[in-house]
């Protein structure tokens, strides 16, 4: 990740449009063709202000663009609809110069007014966007509503100035989120609440057909502003299909990419067959699976107990249960995230030491507690493995195997002593260490209903986090990451979490798919970057 830092820093310093062309699409790529992707769950919406699902995140990425973007297959920022940008010396003003001649799918040219409208819209409480909170640093956010954001100004038709109320080192990442996508006002007004079903953007594809509950067809946007892409004429998404069935269809040549990945039941079969294994693509993802320990519920209010349970979990064994599709974790951040502390050992597996710690806490005979878990495979299995590890040091953990909404409710209300995060876990919204702190480990998230299920709140660490996020200057990037590293090591010293593993992505593609492997494990556009893949005819 040193590489990411360097290039981001250079880009910030120069902010030259030339850098936008740092990615060369596959020269061997052929234009044309159509691919089929399957999903189990239905696509809820394609409105970029609302969509926040596994399935629609990458779809929205292909229909819309934001001011910022990522180099395909990487976590490196690159300019999107913005041609260039400047940051004021105090880090409070971002001036974006827009690309000229970019057209929406309805044929109208995109202007600075659209950028302002889109940001006003996503932050307006009436829109009910789940991503509004990301824009908290923009001046006037607290008063956002019908009047719009005071911090976003249109300077001229191709220039937008955004003023922040506090420096935010992650702001460019925020502008690359789906929630910051630029939408045309007239299309939103016309469709009203149905904009999510009739999306109009500037993206590489446009929506051609949507049969609710069955399939969606994206077709190539011939006027796309990035030259040469996309290669595919169309992408067909079929929804409502069981992952096992999707894989059978892939083996039969009817599906090109199974959106939900390779189901555990087929994994050993696929990996055991060299012909199929050759089409499996592996990659890291910005994910951590963890157990929260509620510091407000006895005996997890005692540090020794939290450390003891950290030492009791056999992470290697849990990794084996999910067919080795993960690496054991030592800290909240995944290894591919900037700010990850290399060499930090965390709490090693040591049941004897754990027992000794429990005895120190006056709980030599163990205790009884509840472990909440979401009820989709493999989470109940993982919970049972955790349960067995805890039993080995005398702790009886009763499993509460519930629907997602019930687990989230118990976590937010602070009534769950332990929660296994699987299925609801934290996959980063953007590749920056701050994304793993605020809502899930910071004091803000510890309030009633918040996502900080440990209810852990350390004001000294919070202050450090705020300090780190105000270090917007690229020259300070290394110091900033050091600070974040300290924050997470500080968190681990108090052990409100048991980081269990970082999931690896395993995806599969059909014989005819082309394009480099990185596109199939794109950390941002999951499961695949539709704009750059192609088919061999």
């Amino acid at each position: 990740m040193k590489k990411l830092l360097a290039s981001t820093a250079v880009m910030l310093a120069l902010s030259l449009p030339a850098l936008a062309q740092d990615y060369t699409p596959d020269p061997a790529a052929k234009a044309g063709g159509s691919i089929t992707i399957t999903y189990k769950d239905d696509v809820a919406t394609l409105d970029p202000a609302i969509g926040y699902d596994w399935q629609n995140w990458s779809m929205i990425k292909s229909l819309f663009d934001g001011l910022m973007d990522y180099v395909p297959g990487t976590t490196e920022l690159r300019p999107g609809l913005a041609e260039s940008y400047e940051i004021s010396p105090d880090g409070l003003t971002y001036t974006f110069k827009l690309r000229a001649g970019v057209k929406f799918h309805n044929g109208r040219e995109m202007t600075a007014e659209d950028v302002k409208y889109s940001l006003d819209r996503v932050t307006n409480p009436a829109t009910q966007s789940p991503g509004a909170g990301f824009f908290g640093a923009i001046a006037g956010f607290d008063a956002a509503g019908e009047g719009g954001l005071s911090g976003v100004e249109v300077v001229d038709p191709l220039t937008v100035k955004i003023t922040l109320s506090r420096p935010d080192a992650t702001f460019l990442h925020v502008m690359a989120l789906n929630f910051a996508s630029v939408v045309p006002k007239e299309a939103v007004d016309e469709a009203g609440a149905d904009f999510g079903k009739k999306p109009v953007g500037t993206g590489a594809f446009k929506l051609a057909e949507w049969t609710l509950g069955q399939r969606l067809v994206f077709e190539k946007n011939a006027d796309y502003w990035r030259a040469g892409v996309p290669f595919l004429d169309s992408v067909v998404f079929e929804v409502g299909q069981e992952p096992v069935v999707a894989l059978l269809r892939l083996q039969n040549g009817e599906v090109d990419v199974p959106g939900d990945g390779i189901p555990p039941a087929k994994f050993t079969e696929v990996m055991g067959d060299p012909a199929q294994a050759a089409r499996v693509v592996q990659g890291g993802q910005l994910h951590t699976g963890y157990i929260t320990l509620n510091v407000g519920i006895a005996p997890f209010d005692k540090l020794e107990v939290r450390k003891a349970v950290n030492m009791a979990i056999n992470k290697e064994r849990i990794t084996q249960i999910i067919n080795g599709r993960a690496v054991p974790a030592t800290q909240p951040l995944p290894p591919s995230m900037p700010g990850y502390t290399e060499g930090y050992a965390g709490y090693a597996y040591d049941p004897e030491g754990a027992k000794a710690l429990l005895a120190e806490a006056g709980l030599a005979d163990g205790f009884e507690t509840d472990l909440y878990v979401m009820n989709t495979d493999p989470n109940p299995r993982i919970a049972q493995a955790i349960q067995q590890d805890l039993a080995a040091i005398g702790i009886t953990a009763n499993i509460q195997n519930l629907a997602q909404a019930n687990v989230i409710e118990a976590g937010g209300a602070g009534t769950a002593p332990m929660i296994w995060s699987g299925g609801m876990g934290w996959i980063a919204d953007f590749p920056d260490p701050s994304n793993f702190y605020g809502p899930i480990l910071g004091c803000a998230g510890a309030a009633e209903g918040g996502w900080n299920w440990s209810k852990f709140c350390d004001e000294a660490l919070d202050a450090k986090a705020i300090e780190a996020d105000s270090m917007f200057d690229p020259a300070q990037a290394a110091d900033r990451l050091k600070l974040w590293s300290d924050v997470y090591v500080g968190v681990m010293e108090q052990a409100p979490w048991i980081p269990v593993f970082n999931e690896e992505r395993y995806t599969m593609k059909s014989e005819r798919m082309g394009g480099e492997d990185a596109l199939y494990v794109d950390p941002v556009s999951i499961p695949v970057n539709y704009d750059y893949v192609w088919v061999k005819q």
């Binding site: 409480p125 991503g131 509004a132 609710l212 409502g240 069935v245 409710e409």
Partner: protein, 306 residues
């Protein structure tokens, strides 16, 4: 007849009202907050409150329920919390698939179940009876997921006779309908067999036989109409099962029915969708029961509509 119908219609409306009230109440007391699902994980407490107010979820239960009913009376089922789409549109787009599968499945169940039941009853105690009854136990004890995957694997993947899931043509309907037909046929064949045996033993059949009527005529004209009565009640029950959602078969065969919609909505506390699906399926069940009761006297004149 007209008075009876009117009374039954009023009763049906009351049942639907009762279902809507109980469902709304259960969702209200359910320990899961829909606003949290809408607002996302980065939302502040103010945002959450704001959304709660917009949706009227801060109001007392009775007010919320009255509002919902008010909308319903005007034909408005509300919009999905998470999809923002009209619930009516979501349900409407999936209804044809659900109904098609339901008819296909019930047809398969009846054909398989009634045939097996009648044969078993007529040859009661013989080997054929025992084989059929063992078969019927096996079908009702088989897990849905396993049967659907097996049929899919054998007939679609290996033999290639049918498409591997999907919707649109008759070929797509066959496997899911047959799966459900096989799984449900055991009930019908058991019911049909026991009811047929009872009827065949009744005095009027003895009389008919004493009069020297032919076997086929006795079975078809006299025994069958009476024996089929409990089976009709079962169709009403079946409609309920199908309209309430057949999530497993739908998702294995990628069938775009109501079950998947309901299941996802339940997972995410999307209350308007849950309410909508519940009411639509309740409506279908009530209608099914009403029809079953109306048809009963037509088949068996000894039952009077009261």
């Amino acid at each position: 007849m007209a008075a009876y119908l009117l009374r039954r219609l009023i009763q049906s409306a009351l049942i639907l009202l009762g279902v809507s009230f109980i469902t709304f109440f259960l969702l209200y007391v359910l320990p899961a907050d829909p606003v949290r699902q809408i607002a996302g994980r980065s939302a502040t407490a103010e945002t959450v409150e704001n959304i709660r107010q917009q949706l009227g979820l801060d109001k007392p239960f009775i007010v919320q329920y009255a509002r919902y009913l008010g909308g319903l009376v005007q034909g408005d089922m509300g919009r999905s919390y998470l999809q923002k789409t009209e619930v009516a549109e979501l349900i409407w787009s999936r209804l044809p698939a659900t109904l098609l599968l339901m008819f296909g499945a019930i047809l398969c169940e009846l054909v398989l179940g009634l045939t097996m039941g009648i044969i078993a009853a007529l040859w009661r105690g013989r080997a054929v009876d025992q084989v059929l009854m063992v078969t019927s136990f096996v079908t009702v004890s088989a897990p849905q997921f396993v049967v659907s995957l097996l049929l899919l694997y054998v007939f679609a993947v290996k033999l290639g006779w049918f498409p591997i899931g999907g919707y649109g043509t008759f070929a797509h309907l066959v496997l899911p309908a047959v799966t459900l037909g096989i799984l449900g046929s055991g009930w019908y064949s058991r019911m049909m067999r026991s009811s047929m045996i009872d009827v065949l033993r009744a005095d009027y059949i003895r009389t008919a036989r004493a009069k020297g009527l032919g076997r086929a005529r006795i079975v078809l004209r006299h025994a069958l109409p009476n024996a089929i009565l409990p089976v009709i009640a079962m169709i009403g029950i079946d409609i309920g099962i199908f309209m309430g959602g057949i999530v497993v078969v739908e998702s294995v065969f990628g069938w775009p029915g109501i079950g998947q919609l309901a299941w996802q909505a339940i997972q995410r506390v999307d209350i308007p969708i849950i309410m909508g699906v519940t009411l639509v399926s309740a409506f279908a069940i009530v209608l099914g029961n009403l029809l079953a009761d109306l048809v009963a006297p037509w088949i068996d004149p000894r039952i009077k509509l009261r």
